[in-house]
Subunit: 513 residues, 2 copies
């Protein structure tokens, strides 16, 4: 996630709006039981971090499944492995279910990104390593036994693959269950947990696996425990994510590369034609000019208040990105993410650099990705894009144009859509959906203030497939520090976030839906 | 050269205009002496084709220089090797000079393109191979001795590296000298011959070598014996060629590639910005919109008549290129070549195809070439292009922008000009210059009709350096068939063109300047 902002205080008026009329609750610090359960869970976390979990190695995935199965069984859950080739997913169901409560399905994933151990500043990415930041900004190792000591500094971090993405949230959930049990409290909801085994590969099978286990997975809402919190490190709820659709646009010139001397000024240049075509699609400020592209998107005052309350520091963001100003699709970063994008992700025609030759290229290609929102499904955007290209005088062919098509049409192009899978779908839960209200109440109880609420994150997460298959609302509840280096080397989890997350989860789970 | 047209007849009215009031002359067929000299020269041609002449192998170049030195010495020329590292050029000067006549410097080159022998359909590219086209369009070998026989079919061809480019024209010139001598006729001009040794490498040293030998090379005009004739295969004179200047245009986005989900709609995309910038440079019909780009170019009625008389078959050309219509820079192919071009010869931003990722690229690059005409030197076009880019709101930096430049300017780009050497200069001789009149008279005498006259060819030839250094007018007199496969494998020379060319040269040389 992109945020790198500093927290700022929110006006009470906006906070009221944003809290969406939640009942006042009395927030309290973590209970002793929560503290103890969280501390006790650290050893389990370290143990499971020792298990490699690259989804390319089925045997490793199976070991992780077995480990988590036991951990949930110990807490009285019924577990089953959901068939998925040689990389089963894990379903854990709280028993006995109370029956008269709502059921929440927690989604997380036990697989992790591949590693290159030589990049890591520790003996192994599979050996949890405790580190403390030194005065000069480096990370210095501490004995891992310090986690058993009296004082744990919230600024310490545990470094390991999947320390944050995504094993910590699962173990934090285990700790929260332990805390509730230690206090003799009932959860406010029935709990199911689904652990994906191929999330880092884009969850290619998630929709199918869910479809095959609809009954077992039935729930009233899904809570996704994944991803980083807002960069302000304040408790965060994410209500939606954009989808993604891809297209390849090819513009054709002459039937082969031409000598730019003999034909320059005579045969049209496809790179130039493509440039003109792309230029026609967006205005100077980044707004898409394709007719109807933004149709159906409306941001009411509630949505605007929620977006405005997000403590983004856009000046710092622009500084970090190295840009003097943002595009004008939305009036703010948050608003910009509410609209579909039209992005040239790659461009090529003939060669640049030392391999460039003085030719008129024969073709020019733009790779495009469109981040979709629920109002703008890929099929509609494709139709609009086609109509736009044709309105610019291009004749669209299926593949490379034939001699006959070349003779008849001065402008020729193809538009080929990439396969759009459900895991690339845009999904959004209404801000006032019951699951959102429930989560806000839990967060309010834990922290005494409204969480950062993201109406729509810009990126795409593969849970769209789950949401569509189950037909239930979802909210992402990220619990890990934004600067956790996920997907990269030196992935880490801040211990303060670990303890805060357990506190959030305890209050969530205790709250009646 | 590009032409692939069929001949068509020219109206007498246009022919008159085009002949530029040449005196009526009596055309005649080749004399017996011409025929005999041409036939006798075939063996010399075959001999010299056996000498490899890749300019990357100095020893081979030296052998060719020695061979041509002897050939000219035998004809009473004084020869000298002009110092040029280990690849000397050859100067041959007719002696004694008449003194009261104009001097014409013939330029040709003795080096050839590198070969890949395995691509050639003959035992060696260095073994002249006689071939005849079969009924089904293939080329069948004939015994090379057939060239000594009674009947030589003008459609036969000799295949070898440099058979056409550019040894044939030199040997044809030798044959024309022999023919004149056999007839006891005086040449109408004093003759100098300069043989370049690095033309296929772009004549990087030609300007310097000429500068060091100005006195010895002094002449009233230069005639370039190189390049293919008009595709109609009619006698051809070329009065000018466009130059070439190169530029690399880079547009900058954020300081690194960004996730297209998290930042799409927020951080401007440099590929999109580049597209908009390129689109602003040309209109839909290919005309350059950069202010002042075409300033100073005027085509008078004489120029228009000459262009119109060129027997181009543009419908066939468009068919061959696979384009439905031409750009509108000029009303015809010939007119289009009278203007500078602005050509995107390469385009790249991030990646396309399987390597494409969902990113907002950090940079986008367009490689540009501008074919210049004498009215539009590269320095002026660069200035206009810079002004245009700045007028579109871009701040031009010297290299990659600094953090400070990034903070201050929303649109950033660099424009880096490629080194423009004199060998890439545009040059043009006035159509009514004395050398042109002289050549037309010779052609008229040989053929009884005006030659095809190209005011300006679209491509660039490296003789610009020679023309600039010597400060004399030049005309290109191509003598070889347009379909000679020059620079490629199976290079060949049509024997009809060989004999016709000798006839043209005899009549040129005999004509008083």
């Amino acid at each position: 996630m992109p945020w790198s902002f500093r927290p700022h205080s929110m006006s009470l008026a906006v906070a009221g709006l944003v809290a969406l009329a939640a009942l006042p609750v009395l927030a309290g610090p973590p209970s002793d039981a929560t503290r103890q359960a969280a501390r006790a869970s650290l050893q389990e976390w370290i143990d499971v971090l020792a298990l490699p979990n690259d989804a390319n190695v089925p045997a490793d995935i199976q070991k992780n499944v077995a480990w988590f199965a036991k951990a949930f069984e110990r807490r009285g859950f019924a577990v089953s492995q959901l068939a998925n080739g040689d990389k089963p997913m894990l379903l854990a169901t709280q028993t006995p279910a109370a029956g008269n409560r709502k059921t929440v399905l927690f989604y997380a994933h036990l697989d992790g990104q591949a590693v290159k151990p030589e990049e890591w500043q520790q003996s192994s990415p599979w050996k949890a390593t405790l580190k403390q930041r030194t005065a000069d900004g480096r990370w210095a190792e501490l004995p891992i036994e310090r986690l058993q000591g009296e004082k744990i500094d919230p600024e310490w971090r545990v470094f390991a693959r999947s320390s944050s993405d995504d094993k910590a949230p699962i173990v934090m959930l285990l700790a929260a269950l332990d805390a509730l049990k230690a206090e003799g409290r009932e959860a406010g909801v029935d709990i199911k947990v689904l652990l994906d085994s191929e999330e880092e590969k884009g969850s290619p099978t998630l929709g199918r696996v869910i479809g095959e286990n609809l009954q077992a997975l039935q729930a009233d809402a899904m809570v996704v425990l994944d991803g980083p919190m807002h960069a302000s490190n304040r408790p965060t709820l994410v209500f939606g994510n954009r989808g993604v659709a891809q297209a390849t646009l090819t513009v054709y010139g002459a039937s082969q590369e031409l000598h730019s001397g003999h034909y320059g000024n005579y045969a049209a240049n496809p790179a130039q034609s493509l440039a003109r075509l792309l230029a026609s699609m967006k205005d100077d400020e980044g707004r898409v000019l394709v007719k109807g592209y933004y149709d159906g998107i409306e941001l009411d005052s509630q949505a605007r208040a929620v977006m405005q309350a997000v403590p983004d520091d856009e000046a710092a963001l622009r500084r970090r990105l190295g840009i003097a100003q943002a595009e004008s699709v939305g009036g703010s970063y948050q608003e910009s993410m509410q609209y579909p994008s039209l992005n040239v992700r790659g461009l090529q025609s003939a060669e640049v650099g030392p391999k460039a030759r003085t030719v008129i290229p024969a073709t020019a290609v733009a790779e495009i990705d469109m981040r979709t929102v629920p109002e703008t499904p890929p099929e509609r955007l494709e139709k609009l894009l086609r109509a736009h290209i044709e309105a610019q005088g291009f004749h669209l062919t299926e593949g490379a144009p034939s001699a006959d098509e070349r003779a008849r049409h001065p402008r020729l192009a193809t538009l080929k859509m990439g396969g759009v899978s459900a895991s690339g779908s845009a999904v959004r839960t209404p801000l006032d959906a019951p699951v959102g209200q429930w989560l806000r109440r839990g967060m309010d109880r834990a922290w005494g203030s409204a969480p950062v609420q993201i109406r729509m994150m810009g990126g795409t997460v593969p849970t769209g497939a789950a949401v569509q298959a189950l037909g239930i609302p979802f909210v992402i509840v990220p619990l890990v520090n934004a600067d956790n280096n996920q997907h990269s080397f030196n992935e880490n989890m801040r211990l303060g976030n670990y303890f805060d997350g357990v506190h959030s989860l305890v209050n969530m789970l205790a709250e009646p839906f």
